[in-house]
């Protein structure tokens, strides 16, 4: 088991290095001089040269990559000051350390992800389980129908509609706003309630469908029937035998969704004007702030890889055949 995790993690690290290299060299493949972006409109050749030197752009690309990677693990010095250990460079835009900006924005994205996850997992899975248990009844048809309708909504449509109804017309809820939960738990909760619900509406449907279909598949397994033949109760067999087998496809989906959301639910954050990682990514593209973009990309990639390893580990926990192969 430990060996398995080690192997998967080392593989993930290798992939991360490859991604970083790819991103970095893409950065220089862009025909525009990055220093021009930092320098601004009335840029003199002297100023440009200084910026080149400050950003380390006068050195060969390989050396720059080495410095960048070195900075991530050991920190670097810039003219704006020391950039300590996980150093992703300095933003062209506001001369801030990229890592500090990411750290600043991350709690919002984390809150958004965690809250949404709780809502759509509980809602989606329970609806899916009920639909599977009551397969073929009106309840199943209602759940299946509703989930189909819900999944065809998009956040950029549903978000403004919900805002329009609950915030601007009726005023029942205030505009979404991030307050750290360490500061005020109630405000944190109320501030993110609308984004959570809107996000969950769209994600729930996936979980309803996957839970329903994999439960139905599992319920037809011979070992489920064999458990019933031993005299185990219907509910017990449903929850212990069938549910256990359904966890694998669900775990896969959860892992992918968490990774995607932590990397920034960009549309959600934009629709609700929240300043999270997704918003940061979008802004860095618009502002051509390449160090920031690079940092966000690497962080997102890291989340995807970490979630992959975690999901694999979860498989091993769920299924002894993976663990003891």
């Amino acid at each position: 088991m430990l060996r398995f995790l080690l192997r998967r993690s080392s593989g993930a690290i290798l992939i991360l290095v490859l991604i970083s290299a790819f991103t970095f060299f893409m950065f220089f493949a862009i025909p525009q001089d990055p220093a021009m972006l930092a320098c601004g409109k009335n840029c003199s050749p002297d100023a440009l040269a200084i910026i080149h030197k400050n950003l380390g752009l006068d050195k060969p690309v390989l050396v720059q990559y080495w410095n960048y990677m070195y900075g991530i693990f050991a920190g670097r010095n810039f003219d704006v000051g020391h950039c300590s250990a996980p150093c992703f460079g300095v933003s062209f835009n506001n001369q801030q350390m990229v890592w500090d900006t990411i750290k600043d924005r991350f709690p919002l994205t984390l809150s958004l992800t965690a809250g949404g996850l709780i809502v759509f997992l509980t809602g989606g899975l329970s609806a899916g389980l009920i639909a599977a248990a009551k397969r073929g009844t009106w309840l199943d048809k209602v759940f299946s129908g509703v989930s189909l309708v819900m999944s065809s909504f998009q956040i950029y449509f549903l978000g403004p509609v919900v805002l329009g109804i609950f915030v601007y017309s009726t005023g029942w809820l205030s505009k979404p706003k991030y307050v750290p939960f360490t500061e005020d738990l109630a405000k944190w909760f109320m501030g993110l309630l609308i984004p959570w619900l809107v996000m969950a509406t769209i994600f729930t449907a996936n979980y309803t469908r996957i839970a329903r279909s994999s439960m139905i598949e599992q319920l037809q397994e011979e070992h489920v029937r064999a458990a019933r033949a031993k005299g185990m109760g219907a509910r017990y067999v449903f929850m212990r035998y069938a549910w256990r087998g359904s966890l694998i496809p669900i775990a896969t989906l959860v892992g992918m969704d968490i990774a995607a959301l932590l990397g920034g639910g960009m549309v959600t954050e934009l629709v609700f004007s929240l300043n999270g990682i997704g918003r940061l990514a979008r802004d860095s593209v618009v502002d051509k702030d390449l160090p920031t973009l690079m940092g966000v990309m690497l962080i997102s990639a890291a989340f995807i890889l970490i979630m992959n390893v975690l999901v694999d580990a979860l498989y091993a926990v769920i299924d002894p055949r993976v663990r003891l192969a």
């Binding site: 073929g136 397994e221 011979e222 070992h223 489920v224 029937r225 064999a226 458990a227 019933r228 033949a229 031993k230 005299g231 185990m232 109760g233 219907a234 212990r240 035998y241 256990r244 087998g245 769920i318 299924d319 002894p320 055949r321 003891l324």
Partner: protein, 354 residues
């Protein structure tokens, strides 16, 4: 070990008060293509401690019958009519609660493929002890000890350690042994074995069949042995029921059916099977055609389109219009007269089986 010595006292049941008595069982389920009559008027009795072999090909209704006895058919899509009395208790229409008390306790089942019939997610020990805990109220420790005892009994080496293994860590033969342990853990009085050795190799099959026979001696269970293999029933069963297209076509003791079969389908099965002692220059005598669809079974005798002998039957086209019934006792559901059956068997069938 802890078993029922009372079977000895309760012995000698006479025909009507058999331990399991199935009367006019009809199982139908609706599919997209129409109504499937999987079992169509089946009756049989089984005494305590005896083995009934049910032989038939795919689609003959033999497996459906047993799922209905356990009440494990899909209740929404399936209609089950008729009576199934287990030790004086009606199973058809019994509450789910009552059936759960019986399943795994008074009646248990051995499935064909131990790889799919054991959950991959739980240890062998847990799966064996689970029904024991439920039905006897034993503690966790007691039921674990029971699981180890049962594993030892079915011949799993080092049961104290293997009890914590998962099914995939067992070989095919060992898994089937574990499944037998699981089914016998509560000393069931009725054991239903659905093709218990079909997935196994010949040498392992022989071990498992002998094991089942020996365990039956010890536990005193009555066994319903479902199989397509006449060799297996010859080895295991006391009585035999031959099924075709959802109906029993012949009933009798194993010796009667195999040595002096009365139904043309039974004859066909015997002629289809190559045997180790048969003359190799004598070609096999297959039954022509294919098993019928249960959606739309042939009229009259369901076997008549594949039968060699309808021309012998008096009455024009009787076989294709009138369905022959299976009388009680040693009998075959065929329009041939008793003399004709005997004559055809002795003159035509027996010479082929040398």
């Amino acid at each position: 070990m802890t078993t029922l010595t009372q079977t000895e006292d309760a012995k000698a049941p006479t025909g009507s008060d058999a331990f399991l008595s199935v009367r006019d069982l009809r199982v139908q389920f609706s599919t997209e293509d129409g109504i499937v009559k999987a079992v169509d008027g089946l009756s049989f009795d089984l005494e305590r401690g005896k083995t009934l072999g049910i032989v038939g090909e795919s689609g003959s209704g033999k497996s459906v019958t047993n799922l209905s006895i356990l009440g494990l058919h899909n209740r929404k899509a399936t209609s089950v009519e008729g009576s199934m009395m287990l030790d004086g208790q009606e199973l058809n229409g019994a509450s789910e609660r009552d059936l759960e008390q019986l399943r795994g306790n008074k009646m248990a089942m051995i499935f064909q493929d131990s790889l799919t019939a054991l959950s991959p997610y739980y240890t062998v020990g847990r799966q064996i002890s689970e029904p024991f805990r439920k039905h006897t109220g034993a503690s966790k420790g007691e039921s674990r000890a029971r699981a180890i005892e049962m594993l030892g009994k079915v011949g799993i080496p080092d049961p104290k350690n293997r009890v914590d293994d998962y099914p995939h860590q067992f070989s095919g033969g060992m898994r089937q042994r574990a499944m037998i342990a699981m089914s016998l853990v509560c000393n069931p009085e009725l054991l239903i074995a659905d093709e218990p050795t079909t997935a196994l190799d010949v040498t392992v099959q022989a071990q498992i069949l002998d094991l089942l026979k020996d365990l039956q001696q010890e536990f005193g269970s009555a066994i319903i042995m479902i199989t397509h293999d006449l060799g297996v029933v010859a080895n295991m069963a006391d009585d035999l029921l031959v099924m075709y297209a959802g109906r029993a076509v012949e009933r009798g003791s194993v010796r009667e059916v195999l040595k002096a079969g009365q139904h043309p389908y039974t004859w066909g099965l015997l002629g289809s099977m190559p045997r180790l002692s048969a003359d190799v220059n004598e070609p096999l005598r297959p039954i022509p055609g294919s098993p019928p669809s249960l959606l739309n079974p042939p009229s009259g005798c369901a076997f008549h389109p594949r039968c060699e002998f309808p021309s012998l039957v008096a009455g024009d086209g009787k076989c294709s219009t009138l369905r022959p019934e299976l009388p009680t006792g040693r009998a075959a559901a065929c329009h041939l007269t008793a003399e004709q059956k005997q004559q055809v068997f002795i003159e035509t069938i027996q010479p082929r089986l040398v």
